[in-house]
């Protein structure tokens, strides 16, 4: 432990704690800009400077460990002046178009400028007119607005291990750019959107498609369009944050209400499709597992995460046979809406406009990934909006989300089980699959459905499940940078002719799973992630049905339409395939 | 030579120091040492080197004169620099020895045993190697005209030999 003083207050913290961490622990605010709790300090902005006693040298609170006997002063006239000048300097390289900026009122630089009472800009603007890169269709790069805090580069390289974004140029010409200076969409980018979620300003953001959705909604009244919407598991525990609610607050029923007020004709829930996914993927797993002796590829790897799918196709194409062919819930729902529901409701699928609300930017890419995303004969999901875009639409509509009455989703694809809702958290897909696989393997029902060993924020989780004597070894990895370790062990075991270390692997590209997705409300930290995860499991705990195969509407859809999991029809609508892709298109 | 042991290295060092003390390096009594740092080369030291070599050969001195290179001695304004060590004359450093001065150097200094006007520059510091503080070993300090005592000694004895 280290004893020191911060603004004359005695503090004691563990060795290695930074001055910033120590100060925050004792409720002392130190202004900061480039720092982000998810990342190792990069120390780019120079705003968090503090003093140590009378030493003339200022220390950067973000990266300097608090040492025994230090006498830290976090604010005085000199520090305020220094910080203010640095902010003025940063503003001199930043465009003044806050009013039309995607980050207006959610911008960390704007907030800092307001806090420091910036009233004039003493230094002339030095802008560079850098072009916008929207080549991915999912996220947009506007380097002109970049303040070179380095978060996106560190997220992409260190957290995600994708290396799609890099610093190019030196000095004032430094810019964030796609690695290799190609278009972002032509390089390694997997569109996970973590860069956008971590960007403090409007330099990287989701491709905003709200206008297209509004246009479609305009036509509903005239009967030209039937607008159908689905919401993903992770959206419900995060959207409230954009309306001042605590992270993890479950606003599912208020979202349904809001979506109806926005003009959607039918409100379905992706959780239902998650249950469907479990039926298909669980069956696929059991089939491969029981046939293991005859060479079916194990481990089976989950494919609900489109960023992960993209990563695997680019970096681990040899593992494609191990991928589950089951589509993600978004795409299963899309296919069901334009086939099963369209027939039932006697609506021309060509006139259905299908919108998905997702915590994810990569889902915008997924909905046109390959021809199987058009399995209904039309584009199964027309537009994917992120949680942030939905919040924007609700605000545009002047809807007071918090005070809306609770409403329910529409049948038949609204009701869902606890297994469906936990899809939004790391380990959730695995747990949901195990709940159903147990029954498929043993023919019996589980007494205790919670597999807590695959929960938690640990980057790689392992568990052995005893299904009445049959041992199933599983691994769960989240945050792209953690995946390589897992796959390497699989590849090494295979090369050595050994048995696979795991039978079933769940992968989610974002830290904490979809609840930490790149399209979720800003300000996501581990604390926020834990609260969102809690929100999800709380709902699971009180659900009437907690296993996907118990969902009566799932039973119904198989009886009425899909025949049985893994049937020919199910394969045509609910399964996809993968191809090796080059990391760089050129 | 190959890898050496401690004893071999020490013996090797003694041998090299002996050579220097006897005033002969590679069997030659006269040394013309040209400053070939980047600064010297930029000022034309390579040409000076070639010219001195040519004149030395023309005057049939090749068997007595060893022309070799060294690094920058710090007299950058007066590059190229050339140090001449020969019996009968004090060792001196000449500055501003462009290729044009090579002939003068060979004719006047090496052959005529006169020092050149307007070219001599003082070695900037005493040589700490082989100085009194280190057991007074007769080291290369002698060749390099620095520590007052050692230079006097060498040039005197050299002069004595040269006058024979």
């Amino acid at each position: 432990m280290v004893k020191a003083k911060i603004n004359s207050q005695e503090v004691e913290v563990a060795e290695g704690t930074t001055i910033l961490e120590a100060a925050e622990k004792f409720h002392v605010k130190i202004p900061k800009l480039c720092h982000n709790d998810d990342l190792e300090p990069w120390a780019a902005c120079g705003i968090c400077v503090v003093k140590n006693g009378k030493s003339p040298k200022l220390l950067r609170a973000c990266c300097t460990p608090l040492e025994e006997g230090m006498n830290i002063i976090t604010t005085d006239a000199e520090l305020v002046q220094t910080r203010k000048t640095v902010i003025e300097l940063i503003l001199s390289t930043h465009p003044d178009d806050c009013l039309a900026c995607p980050r207006n009122q959610e911008c960390e630089l704007q907030r800092l400028a307001a806090e420091f009472g910036i009233r004039d800009q003493p230094f002339p603007k030095r802008l560079r007119n850098l072009p916008v890169d929207d080549s991915t269709g999912a996220i947009v790069l506007n380097p002109e607005k970049c303040i070179r805090c380095g978060r996106c580069v560190k997220v992409c390289q260190e957290m995600q291990d994708v290396w799609a974004i890099e610093f190019l140029g030196r000095g004032e010409k430094t810019r964030i750019a796609p690695a290799g200076d190609v278009k972002l969409g032509e390089g390694p980018c997997i569109r996970c959107g973590q860069c956008a979620a971590h960007c403090p300003v409007g330099a990287i953001y989701e491709n905003d498609q709200t206008t297209e959705v509004w246009e479609a909604l305009m036509k509903t009244g005239e009967g030209e369009r039937t607008c159908v919407v689905q919401i993903a598991p992770a959206v419900r525990v995060a959207l409230g944050e954009a309306f001042g609610l605590k992270p993890g607050t479950n606003v599912t029923k208020k979202i349904y209400a809001a979506l109806r007020r926005l003009g959607f004709d039918m409100v379905f829930d992706t959780n239902f499709a998650a249950d469907l996914t479990i039926m298909e993927e669980g069956t696929e797993f059991v089939r491969r597992f029981t046939a293991a002796g005859v060479g079916a590829p194990l481990p089976l790897i989950t494919t609900c995460c489109p960023a992960w799918v993209d990563y695997l196709e680019k970096y681990w194409p040899d593992m494609i046979p191990n991928f589950s062919t089951a589509k993600s819930p978004q795409q299963m729902m899309g296919a069901m809406i334009k086939t099963y529901w369209a027939a039932q409701a006697k609506v021309d699928p060509a006139k259905i406009f299908s919108v998905a609300i997702m915590p994810c930017t990569a889902k915008k890419f997924e909905n046109s990934r390959n021809e199987t995303m058009y399995s209904s004969g039309h584009k199964d999901v027309d537009i994917t909006l992120t949680t942030r875009e939905l919040a924007r639409m609700i605000k545009q509509a002047g809807i007071d989300l918090v005070n809306l009455p609770d409403e329910n989703a529409d049948s038949p694809m609204g009701p869902y089980t606890g297994a469906g809702v936990i899809f939004g958290a790391t380990g959730g897909v695995m747990e949901a699959a195990l709940r159903t696989a147990y029954t498929l393997v043993t023919g019996e029902e589980l007494k205790e459905v919670a597999f807590t060993s695959v929960r938690s924020m640990t980057g790689i989780k392992e568990a052995q499940i005893n299904m009445k004597g049959t041992i199933i070894r599983v691994a769960v990895a989240h945050q792209m940078g953690n995946i390589e370790t897992v796959l390497r062990q699989v590849v090494e075991a295979r090369a050595a002719g050994k048995e696979t270390p795991w039978h079933f692997i769940e992968v989610m590209a974002c830290r904490g799973g979809c609840i930490g997705g790149g399209g979720q409300p800003y300000g996501c930290t581990d604390e926020v992630r834990k609260l969102r995860i809690r929100g999800i499991y709380d709902e699971d705990d009180v659900s009437t049905y907690r296993c996907s195969h118990h969902n009566p509407y799932i039973k119904k859809i198989y009886t009425e339409f899909l025949e049985k999991p893994g049937s020919h029809k199910a394969h045509g609508l609910l399964h996809t395939h993968y191809v090796a892709r080059p990391i760089y298109m050129k | 030579m190959g890898k050496m042991t401690l004893t071999q290295l020490r013996k090797h060092r003694e041998q090299k120091q002996d050579d220097v003390a006897r005033g002969k390096v590679e069997g030659k009594a006269i040394q013309v040492i040209i400053g070939m740092g980047t600064c010297g080369i930029a000022a034309g030291a390579r040409k000076t080197y070639d010219e001195i070599l040519r004149h030395v050969e023309e005057h049939g001195l090749a068997s007595q004169v060893l022309i070799r290179q060294t690094g920058c001695m710090g007299l950058c304004t007066v590059e190229p620099t050339v140090e001449v060590v020969m019996p009968g004359l004090p060792s001196v450093i000449y500055g501003k020895m462009t290729a044009d001065s090579a002939k003068d150097l060979v004719l006047k200094h090496l052959v005529g045993k006169r020092l050149l006007n307007n070219h001599i520059f003082d070695r900037p510091a005493v040589d700490i190697i082989g100085a009194a503080s280190h057991g007074g070993a007769a080291s290369v300090g002698a060749t390099s005209n620095s520590g007052a005592a050692s230079v006097g000694a060498t040039s005197n004895s050299a002069a004595a030999k040269g006058n024979d």
Binding site: E172 | Q17, N118, H134
Partner: protein, 602 residues
């Protein structure tokens, strides 16, 4: 025919102004009168670098060093020294009394003998200009690799560290951190894989100490790094050197190969069981890669950007392993410290800054070059003695130490003895050793702009205060030199400068404002003149210059009009000419061409 004596008469500018030419002539005359033309050669030489005691006369082979010689002393020198072989004692710098005794006493105590008239004392450059850098035998003959022998066979690693700590050797890269402590931290750091790095990424404009050291004596660095490897327990070393130094790289390559052949690098050095390998890595010439954390990132193959310290390299450096990183000059000191001992080393220099410092002396100085002086030497001695004073007898204005990171030191501070602390106290810094002398024709605003431009180009772009601050300061300085400075500009420069100094991550940004801030401190009125009067008193900001013709003096010869490259001078023959200010490019050709002093610059 062989002369018995040679009388060298200093022909340096300083001595010449003190009648050295007369001394030379008198000596020639006396030699002739006294019939000694065949006995003695009188030679005119270059500057001796001891101008304060000039004129200087030196007699060889006796090495008699005469100071403050007057023309009338010629007769006595010839009569006494050449004829009778006796020194003229009253003219001797060291009157001869006990010089040898003093040297012996110093030697007996293990201290350095610093009694020479020469202001320079060469430890780092001991072999530069002496040995053939491409011949390891010449290095070996000059005590080369003796320190390594001593360390390997007579000292424990703790002894080496104790000796270094006692010597007080401090990092010569500029920051002055005690080398012994650096090594000790690395030795104590847990881990079996450790590294030794030599920072040869010299980047200051006008600095070339490291280049010259490696070009002239590569083995001194190699030997020191091997000693360091043994001491801290590292078996691998890297020399990070900028690719723009091809000759230094080549010589270092040759030296490493020779050392490997002799078994002085590689496995089981000299049978000691100690292994140490050395590799050269080339830097692409980014100034910021001289910053140690950026250098290591670059060595690892990453973008050369500084990262926060701590952790310090001693515990987590290259590839996160404990690493010693010292610059070339620091390493070159080490063999002598080990061999001569800390007592010897501390007898040179000052108490807190023992030893010497190498400077690259450039600018408006007569004897520009590489100098190595004991710490504690004054700037005046370096500039006016060793450097031989200001070129063309112009007036000294200031000296920039520490390159683009340092500040200007003015006349009144020239007598401060040089040390890390004193230069910092004067608002500059030791830096790596660039020393640029400026005279009255140098404009401080222009000089500040030059350094700021350098920092603009070399800022890595990571940290906001430096990346943006340097550019904003540069644009302000630029408009000042062009006559469009604004009244608030000085305050803005100071405001940005202070923020950069305080809030930058590394020393590049932290010191980038120094040249500007220090010149504002000393020459505020010049800045104000640029802003208020659009005037550059040094006459170096061309936009602010105005050439005009005084009609009374102009005879209308037309020469200036002929010389003018833009034809902006007009006038009838024999009638006063006029310069069209709108077209004038301020090249100054007209002024140079006018034989009547009719063209004036204002």
């Amino acid at each position: 025919m062989a002369y018995k004596n040679f009388i060298l008469v200093c022909g340096g500018t300083g001595c010449e102004s003190c009648r050295s030419e007369e001394i030379y002539k008198n000596l020639m005359m006396e030699a002739e009168i006294q019939g000694l033309k065949e006995e003695v050669q009188v030679v005119r030489t270059g500057c001796f670098g001891f101008c304060e005691k000039g004129p200087i006369v030196k007699v060889l082979p006796q090495e008699s060093f005469y100071v403050e010689v007057k023309p009338e002393d010629a007769r006595e020198i010839i009569a006494e020294q050449v004829v009778k072989g006796r020194e003229v004692k009253r003219l001797l710098y060291d009157k001869g009394d006990g010089a040898a005794a003093a040297a012996a006493a110093a030697a007996a105590e293990g201290k350095a003998d610093l009694r020479s008239y020469q202001k320079q004392y060469r430890i780092v450059l001991r072999n530069c200009g002496v040995i053939d850098p491409e011949n390891i035998d010449e290095y070996i003959a000059r005590e080369g690799y003796e320190a390594l022998e001593k360390a390997l066979f007579e000292m424990k690693s703790a002894d080496v560290i104790a000796e270094l700590k006692a010597s007080g050797l401090r990092g010569r890269g500029g920051a002055g951190f005690p080398t012994g402590m650096k090594w000790e931290f690395t030795r104590a750091a847990p881990g079996t894989v450790k590294y030794v790095i030599c920072n040869a990424d010299e980047g200051d404009p006008g600095a070339y100490m490291d280049r010259a050291t490696i070009e002239g004596d590569p083995h001194s660095v190699i030997e020191a790094m091997a000693i360091c490897g043994y001491t801290v327990g590292a078996t691998k070393g890297y020399v990070y050197i900028r690719a723009e130094y091809p000759l230094a790289i080549e010589r270092l390559r040759i030296a490493i190969r020779q050392a490997e052949e002799y078994g002085l690098l590689g496995k089981d050095i000299l049978g000691s069981g100690v292994d140490f390998d050395l590799e050269i890595r080339l830097g692409a010439g980014a100034f910021v890669c001289g910053e140690e954390t950026a250098l290591m990132r670059s060595l690892e193959g990453n973008r050369g950007m500084p990262v926060p310290k701590p952790p310090f390299p001693a515990t987590s450096g290259l590839w996160k392993k404990p690493t010693v990183i010292n610059n070339v000059e620091t390493f070159a000191n080490v063999p002598m410290v080990i061999l001569r001992g800390s007592k010897w080393f501390t007898s040179i220099g000052t108490e807190k800054s023992p030893g010497t410092k190498v400077f690259a002396l450039t600018g408006k100085i007569n004897n520009s070059g590489l100098v190595e002086v004991p710490m504690g030497t004054t700037l005046r001695e370096i500039i006016f003695d060793i450097g031989g004073g200001i070129r063309n007898n112009r007036k000294f204005k200031g000296v920039q130490t520490g390159g683009p990171s340092g500040g200007i030191i003015v006349e009144k501070d020239l007598d401060a003895p040089i040390s890390y602390e004193s230069l910092t106290a004067l608002g500059s810094m030791m830096g790596s050793g660039g020393m640029i002398v400026m005279d009255e024709d140098d404009c401080v605003v222009d000089v500040s702009k030059f350094y700021m431009e350098f920092c603009v180009d070399e800022s890595c772009g990571k940290c906001a205060p430096c990346r943006i601050g340097t550019n904003q300061m540069h644009s302000i300085l630029d408009r000042m030199t062009k006559g469009s400075g604004e009244p608030s500009d000085l305050a803005k420069l100071e405001k940005i400068g202070q923020a950069m100094t305080k809030a930058s991550l590394c020393m590049l940004g932290g010191s980038a404002a120094n040249p500007t801030l220090s010149t504002i401190r000393h020459f505020r009125e010049e800045y104000e003149e640029h802003i208020r009067d659009h005037k550059c008193r040094a006459g170096s900001c061309k936009t602010l210059l105005r050439f005009s013709i005084i009609p009374e003096k102009c005879i209308g010869c037309g020469l200036c009009a002929k010389r003018c490259p833009v034809q902006c001078i007009a006038g009838e023959k024999k009638v006063a000419h006029v310069i069209d200010q709108a077209k004038c490019i301020k090249c100054g050709e007209c002024q140079k061409s006018c034989k009547f002093g009719a063209v004036v610059k204002s």
